[in-house]
């Protein structure tokens, strides 16, 4: 045991078990617990307007999706340009129930946690199927295979009458122990649901990487032949990475369907797949905390650009094009600048801050 349970200036592990702890020091755990409780408590004391609550919920849903994308692209090194389609599978699972049973059937209003799980499962199954080409393909070819899955998904949804040909299939409001969730509580309620899901899934991933199944992913990414020699099955591992990522995406999609009270194809297009990738990259590929930074950064950037555009539009009304062209422009610029100057993403800044505070006031 290290002498001080609260502070550690470096890595003093003696046993393997110590290395496996989630929190290295008690201070870490304390800070994390405070932070987490703050996340749970603040809506009670401080009320945000609905649009902002919606933005926050969007960030949380994107966090769930990007956690999944990070599993497959960051940890397992398989590029997926079809992540929004997996999210769509989750959302459309919920929507299908709603379509068959009616949008305020008991199953939807009361059994919604089960439906979220069903969304995740459907995502996982599709993920495993789409992951099959990864048995043979790598790198760019795999990326293009996932791209074609995205296209086929969009076509199927837009073509089939069952899916309302891509138009919104509405999903009713849900009920909780406190009664029906009305319009005013809707966003706060789903904030909590998403938050709980993130905590569960986040710890899930954290623990996964303590087991052989998680480490196999990284091993396959770094060198699949070596991993093969170590007794892992690279092909199976890749399919399983896709399935796992599909599960996260499916859960995100199901929550999305409930939050927006419906599913429509416009929320699951190629553009969204690219946005998820951008979030993962800006946050930091292959890191768990990056999956939190990325969505927050991109969503807030979008919001700020929008605000700035409106502000600019007040002064140059006839040049509205200038103001609105800013959004794609800054989005692209942020991706490119991060890749050129900080390929490890915001997670790397976080690491620097952490190591700085750890040794403060000394520097190395």
């Amino acid at each position: 045991m290290a002498a001080n349970r609260w502070l550690a200036t470096g890595n003093f592990f003696i046993t393997y078990k110590e290395e496996q702890r989630t929190f290295l020091t008690s201070l870490d755990r304390l800070i994390f617990s405070i932070f987490l409780s703050a996340l749970f408590i603040w809506p009670i004391f401080f009320s945000l307007s609905r649009p902002y609550m919606l933005v926050i919920n969007n960030i949380l849903i994107a966090v769930i999706a990007v956690l999944g994308l990070n599993l497959v692209t960051g940890f397992a090194g398989l590029i997926s340009i079809g992540h929004a389609a997996f999210v769509g599978v989750g959302a459309y699972t919920v929507a299908s129930f709603s379509r068959v049973l009616g949008d305020s059937h008991f199953l939807i209003t009361h059994m919604w946690p089960l439906l979220i799980l069903a969304g995740g499962t459907a995502g996982a199954i599709t993920g495993a199927i789409v992951g099959l080409p990864s048995l043979r393909l790598k790198h760019l070819y795999l990326a293009i295979a996932t791209l074609s899955f995205q296209m086929i998904f969009e076509w199927v949804i837009k073509f089939m009458t069952f899916f309302n040909q891509g138009q919104t299939i509405s999903v009713g409001r849900v009920t909780w122990f406190t009664g029906d969730i009305g319009r005013n509580d809707h966003y706060t309620f789903w904030y909590y649901v998403a938050l709980v899901l993130i905590v569960l899934l986040g710890f899930g991933i954290r623990n996964l990487f303590k087991t052989r199944y998680g480490r196999a992913l990284v091993a396959v990414r770094d060198n699949d032949r070596a991993a093969d020699a170590m007794g892992m099955h690279p092909g199976f591992t890749k399919v399983y990475a896709f399935a796992l990522s599909g599960f996260f995406a499916g859960v995100a999609g199901a929550v999305h369907a409930f939050l927006y009270k419906g599913a429509g194809i416009e929320s699951f297009t190629l553009h969204h797949s690219i946005t998820y990738l951008a979030m993962a990259i800006v946050g930091g590929l292959g890191t768990i905390n990056g999956s939190f930074w990325g969505p927050a950064a991109i969503e807030i950037l979008n919001l700020q650009v929008e605000k700035f555009s409106e502000y600019a539009a007040n002064y140059l009304p006839s040049a509205m094009n200038l103001a609105t062209a800013l959004r794609p422009f800054t989005f692209g610029l942020v991706i490119v600048l991060f890749l050129m100057f900080e390929p490890r993403g915001i997670a790397n800044w976080w690491r620097i801050v952490k190591s700085y505070t750890k040794t403060w006031p000394f520097r190395y």
Binding site: L137, I144, L147, S148, F149, P234, I281, L326, P328, I335
Partner: protein, 297 residues
């Protein structure tokens, strides 16, 4: 029977335009192993520059077509110089994402111009009357498009086979270290590859713009549409792009001509290329003419 032949002719015409659009992707991939997701935007800018020169600066279209090729040549070259040169040796995901980011930046820039939100069409400069042989007809625009495609593709093939620069580009695609050791400047080869890709994109843009009219949404979609084509042909083969382009054109036209509206199906021409793409990826990932270098897992 003329129905059948008309479909064949249309398929070949559409296919050769696909081939021209795909050419840019192949050129970049061939030398630098980068898939360019911003290709659609470069095609669109090529079309818009041609239009701006022809209509706003009143330059005859024959000349403005070449000037716009020159401009996109420089544009693509500077894109490579500014953004992609730093990323040589970075993981493939970074490179893919940089080109996606570039696509978004170009989107933003195009929205600054009237082309982002308005529709235009090229003035007629060819006879409007189609050429008709035995009930099979082809418009002058399409014919000229095919001729330009053939000339450009022939030119590029010659360039890669015979010219010193072309051979050095092939050398780089084969083995970067070996080519460096014999004195080839790898970065300048990359720059040149992008520049020639830009040039072919402008040509493709000009032709597509003449056929569909200038609508930004329609034009930049071609950047994605050609992916099935290049995969089918093999990402690094010019000949592959031509053959696959024509096959894809034929498949789409035949799907439109015989499948659609018959079995309760519709819009199959849209999705078939991607289904074929998935099948090819599973069976023959290096495409018809690509180099067998895919690593098996």
């Amino acid at each position: 029977m003329s129905y059948f032949f008309q479909i064949v002719v249309s398929g070949v015409v559409v296919g050769s335009i696909y081939a021209l659009a795909a050419l840019g992707l192949v050129l970049v991939y061939k030398s630098s192993r980068v898939a360019n997701f911003a290709h659609g935007q470069i095609i669109a800018s090529g079309a818009f520059i041609t239009y701006a020169l022809t209509v706003w600066a009143s330059i005859p279209i024959y000349i403005s077509f070449f000037i716009s090729m020159l401009i996109t040549f420089l544009l693509a070259w500077s894109v490579e110089r500014i953004f992609l040169r730093r990323l040589i040796g970075e993981p493939i995901i970074s490179v893919i994402m940089v080109t996606i980011g570039l696509a978004s930046i170009l989107d933003g820039l195009i929205y600054l111009t009237p082309f982002g939100t308005k529709n235009f069409s090229f003035p007629l400069f060819l006879p409007a009357e189609p050429i008709s042989i035995y009930g099979v007809s082809i418009s002058w625009t399409q014919l000229v498009g095919v001729i330009i495609t053939v000339v450009l593709i022939g030119g590029f093939s010659w360039f890669f086979k015979k010219s010193t620069v072309g051979i050095s580009m092939r050398a780089v695609s084969d083995d970067q270290f070996a080519s460096m050791s014999v004195g080839i400047s790898v970065p300048s080869v990359f720059g040149l590859a992008w520049a020639t890709a830009g040039l072919s994109a402008a040509a493709a843009g000009g032709i597509i713009g003449n056929i569909t009219g200038l609508n930004f949404d329609t034009l930049h979609a071609f950047g994605v549409v050609v992916f099935p084509v290049v995969i089918l042909g093999g990402l690094d083969s010019i000949l592959g792009a031509v053959v696959a382009g024509i096959i894809m054109g034929l498949i789409q036209q035949f799907a439109g001509g015989y499948l659609d509206g018959n079995f309760g199906l519709n819009g199959t021409g849209e999705v078939l290329p991607y289904i074929i793409l998935l099948i090819i990826l599973l069976i023959k990932p290096h495409g018809l003419f690509g180099i067998h270098e895919i690593e098996r897992v």
